[in-house]
Symmetry: D2
Subunit: 370 residues, 4 copies
Amino acid sequence: MSSIFGDRLKISVFGESHGPAIGVVVDGLPSGIALDFDKIAGEMARRRPDSGPYSTKRKEMDEVEILSGLFNGRTTGTPLSAIIRNKDTISAHYNAMERLARPGHADFSGYVRYKGFNDYRGGGHFSGRLTAPLVFAGAVAKQILEEQQIFIGAHIDSILDIKDIGFDKTNITREQLMALSEMDIPVNDRSCHAQYLEIIDNARKNGDSVGGIIEAAIIGLPAGIGSPIFDNVEAKLSSILFSVPAVKGVEFGEGFSITKMYGSEANDSFYTDGSKIMTRTNNNGGINGGITNGMPVVLRVAIKPTSSISIEQDTVDIKSFENTTIKVHGRHDSCIVPRAVPVVEAACAVAICDLLLSQLGVDTLSEGDW
Amino acid sequence: MSSIFGDRLKISVFGESHGPAIGVVVDGLPSGIALDFDKIAGEMARRRPDSGPYSTKRKEMDEVEILSGLFNGRTTGTPLSAIIRNKDTISAHYNAMERLARPGHADFSGYVRYKGFNDYRGGGHFSGRLTAPLVFAGAVAKQILEEQQIFIGAHIDSILDIKDIGFDKTNITREQLMALSEMDIPVNDRSCHAQYLEIIDNARKNGDSVGGIIEAAIIGLPAGIGSPIFDNVEAKLSSILFSVPAVKGVEFGEGFSITKMYGSEANDSFYTDGSKIMTRTNNNGGINGGITNGMPVVLRVAIKPTSSISIEQDTVDIKSFENTTIKVHGRHDSCIVPRAVPVVEAACAVAICDLLLSQLGVDTLSEGDW
Amino acid sequence: MSSIFGDRLKISVFGESHGPAIGVVVDGLPSGIALDFDKIAGEMARRRPDSGPYSTKRKEMDEVEILSGLFNGRTTGTPLSAIIRNKDTISAHYNAMERLARPGHADFSGYVRYKGFNDYRGGGHFSGRLTAPLVFAGAVAKQILEEQQIFIGAHIDSILDIKDIGFDKTNITREQLMALSEMDIPVNDRSCHAQYLEIIDNARKNGDSVGGIIEAAIIGLPAGIGSPIFDNVEAKLSSILFSVPAVKGVEFGEGFSITKMYGSEANDSFYTDGSKIMTRTNNNGGINGGITNGMPVVLRVAIKPTSSISIEQDTVDIKSFENTTIKVHGRHDSCIVPRAVPVVEAACAVAICDLLLSQLGVDTLSEGDW
Amino acid sequence: MSSIFGDRLKISVFGESHGPAIGVVVDGLPSGIALDFDKIAGEMARRRPDSGPYSTKRKEMDEVEILSGLFNGRTTGTPLSAIIRNKDTISAHYNAMERLARPGHADFSGYVRYKGFNDYRGGGHFSGRLTAPLVFAGAVAKQILEEQQIFIGAHIDSILDIKDIGFDKTNITREQLMALSEMDIPVNDRSCHAQYLEIIDNARKNGDSVGGIIEAAIIGLPAGIGSPIFDNVEAKLSSILFSVPAVKGVEFGEGFSITKMYGSEANDSFYTDGSKIMTRTNNNGGINGGITNGMPVVLRVAIKPTSSISIEQDTVDIKSFENTTIKVHGRHDSCIVPRAVPVVEAACAVAICDLLLSQLGVDTLSEGDW
């Protein structure tokens, strides 16, 4: 439980922000998959914080050390494990936080859950840093999916009250998704880029923070993936997406907006060109009854504003039970949405890979014959 | 997989709409829990369809037959199983549907998933009827939770474009939730009742349908429940909620709206009266870092408009691959939101009970000493 | 947990000996499998008690009612559930047992586990009667395996101190296994039949009981099934075999006897005829490193003597904590080994089917195309 | 699946013999457990190979690096992960083995399972070296159990045809188990020590190997632990024990020998001293109906002779499908039974800890209050 996700592809994430290392064990992989480390490094780079404001990040794989499950550049089929050493951590910033619960963070709830024994420094096991191993696992899952012609991408649908153009849910191409993955702030409407940056910069100047919505798409998924009742595509995806820090909402297709439609509008009518069955609209986000219908799977994820702000906030000293105030120092993103994009994609990749393995079997997805 | 949910409290749901029976096995229950069958019957009645438009439903337990796990009126601790016979099913309505995929339904995706061998009549295993066993399991879970002073309730936050008053997320009482559970269309603002009915009736007259949003609250949950990374409260709840038919979105606290706030607004600052730590606002819905913080857990669920409508829609004959049209006949709710309320509550009860059992242990929650 | 087994093929067994019904939900089945009910009835009959001592049992399927998961004679792929009503139960025999722990039974340990709330009548959920749903599930699993040319059979290797001829572990045929399945007391050496009956009858006359060893074989399993470290073939099989009442030991190949050999004897050397790799001996029971090597999987299961005997035994009144004695009345087999044979086979079938589904995928094993 | 064990205490083992490192993630631990690293180092030392024949091993903890889950010397409750670097590996020995299947090893079955992509060097993920992380996890589990006054120990019951005195199953003390843990070759009858060494040395001189039987005991377990049907104590223990390399049999209490007894002998009659219910004999090994009865849990594990022998054996070239021969070079134990003792104990500790956590809950077993 707790830090393990998946039924067939199980990922076991471990580590604390200021401990020796963080990492992941990926269990249940097909064997013989040639890993493209440039792509993995690219995904890791997309998630990584950087000094310059959203400058192009250097692709470096060296921070990830693979300990097992890889032989001659291919997956062995046995557990693939990878660790990332923690360094450059300034724990001093967190000394006060042993006692003061930062609003919006898990300091208080985590303290109670672990009866005061958790490593509170930098958020410990709750830290956003723990999404790095998830991105690694997702990068591997993405490569397995790509061999099946399944691709995942995302754009930032909104930051605060500025909104990008959403996906055309019936027509999303691989090229579109790849272009998004190349952008530091992926948007469909390029004019949003500057506006997003401006909002984020303003928030930073005020010691405040902003959040936003990420819209992701999974294309190439065949119809018929997922299982009622509980192992359906929406349940599986939402479960891992709500495990990404700061996520407070998940919706598929038109999501909450579908409740503003009549059934005659909301239903996606079917048609065929004789070879494939499609829907004219895609309000259901490519999923009927929890099972893919062959249209793009489209989902939206709400990312709350970064909890760490330098504005003074009321709080409580957990140990003395006294009311007090806190200003959260340290290096914080005033908006984590851009860095959350590859994390959301990785989470989707892991969940979809798990579902595919369930139905197709690990032998089917492995390379080689016997 | 597929039709089993939970880690410690596992529910295994089975059945098809027009098969001999539907049912559930509830595994992992504490022993010695005295079941109140009037309460169970009450929950079943809330979900049941009825001839009159939202008239008071008769409470009947007799439809549910308990086959195991109960002895002298108390849970034995071994699997509690219950079945509900199917009857009064008019399968003739569904003959055409063997070939015609109803838009919005799982007819097509399910056909592919099961390679044409699924029982398509009445939606089969995908039918909303399968929520009856879930409500039964939820009614049992609710009783276990109530012994821990944990209560669950919900209201209909909106139907189409009419909106009820939301919960005051920092202050929700047991009395309020109980009052809602007595209403056929539970609302905080009584004036919504007539408006909701009117919208629903209009949709029915037009052969169309409407959906809405359910807001649920769980009160009395102590701080410290849930586990990072993947076994957190939001992941667990969303996973089972997305298994309820027609759910297309789940959000916690302010959910998607929190992305419109600055961090300084969104963060729920802590304060204490010296005995308990609380938050002044509850934008995070009682959950920080995936773990309860002792405030009410508040969530919202988007229910799409009923897919079955009698208006003609485009579709495809799955077997001949010809474009055609369909009018869906049979008895259908033009709005399933009222009936979905007890289902959402049941889903929450099962998920929370599962989490509690993980942390407290089945022995702790059982009656009796040894 | 507790009453659910399996990762991909999950069986959820429920019921108590003297409750309304016992049953099983089989989740994760391939779709489109045409079930042969005569074969299922045949397996159920092999397990069933009978008035005459090991007379040919009538094949009756009517006692099993299938509630879901079957449509037009084929599996739908959704949960297959079946129940068997309890009848002909004389609970009066068990009234005294509410307080008196029968030696060898779970009366005491179960009382503590469930804090006195379990249904003690007839052993409740611990009863050997609960193997009937397992045999049903196993009969379904056997049919899936047979389509893959995998066959399971067993003989009674010993009763008390009389021993049958063991399998030639390198050469076991389908015909041999089928012939065994037709025998009321399956033996390789026909002369054992009368000797076994005599020992059993003598035990009965003395109000005593005997046990024995069952040797089972699984043939046709391809090499490469199973996964290190924990999801290996021996772990999976032993786990379900130790869930069969009265089993106290499980060994593979030469098992405990292999400890009496030198490595040079124990190792099964490989050879090939150019098309297939085989081993000259099969001391490892077809399993190397927890993974099948293509040779017959051979295992032995120790079944203890029936705990219920009419000879007076010392025991304790669980409630008053007084030392006393007990004679166990009621209808008991003086040897359950013959009836345990189909149960052991069923357990093997379920476990192997689960492993196959993991590697080949449910889509691969389903009928039909899409 | 595959390399993850447990329901509440999940251990995820990773690594290959000649890869960069091996390790384990232990998920679901109680928080606040002060770890005694001397004890952990002691367990690691018991398993470690050594130059001198069974000389006292130096206790070194430094080989194990803890990466997470530990803060100020106590468990945090989040995943505890540890790695052990591989070094001193002479891969050259294994070059020939890429093609030649060593009899008794998983070279062939693993090759098929992973379609030739597994890391074959030194047995890869199948290597006995992978028991080191298990021993680490077991050492942690042992400490949790010891806080509950539950102790685990073992002796070598036999090597080849020499047999030690078995445990008195009704009366095993902590002192006895501790004394055994101090011995390089733990035996009840000290005269066995020299005989065992002699057999092992003779085998070594002949380039051959021997196996044996380990008898383990778990004392202090309260009655009522375990759950029918499938999550019972015997199923759980056997499942992890069959995951230890070279194990070919597991039995509880009298095990296979119980089939040679009449029921009147085999049944363990109950008696009480007024405060506790006990059994006069313990043929069932402390387990009735899969649930502990409060008596010592006693089990025996068959360890086959080491597969690696320097005597020439027949085998097959996996790639060319030619018959050939092999002599296995490299440093091999001619008997791994002494080193398997702490592994068997560790496996028992992990399984029992998992069961305890299920029933008592992680909060109950954690230190501290909230």
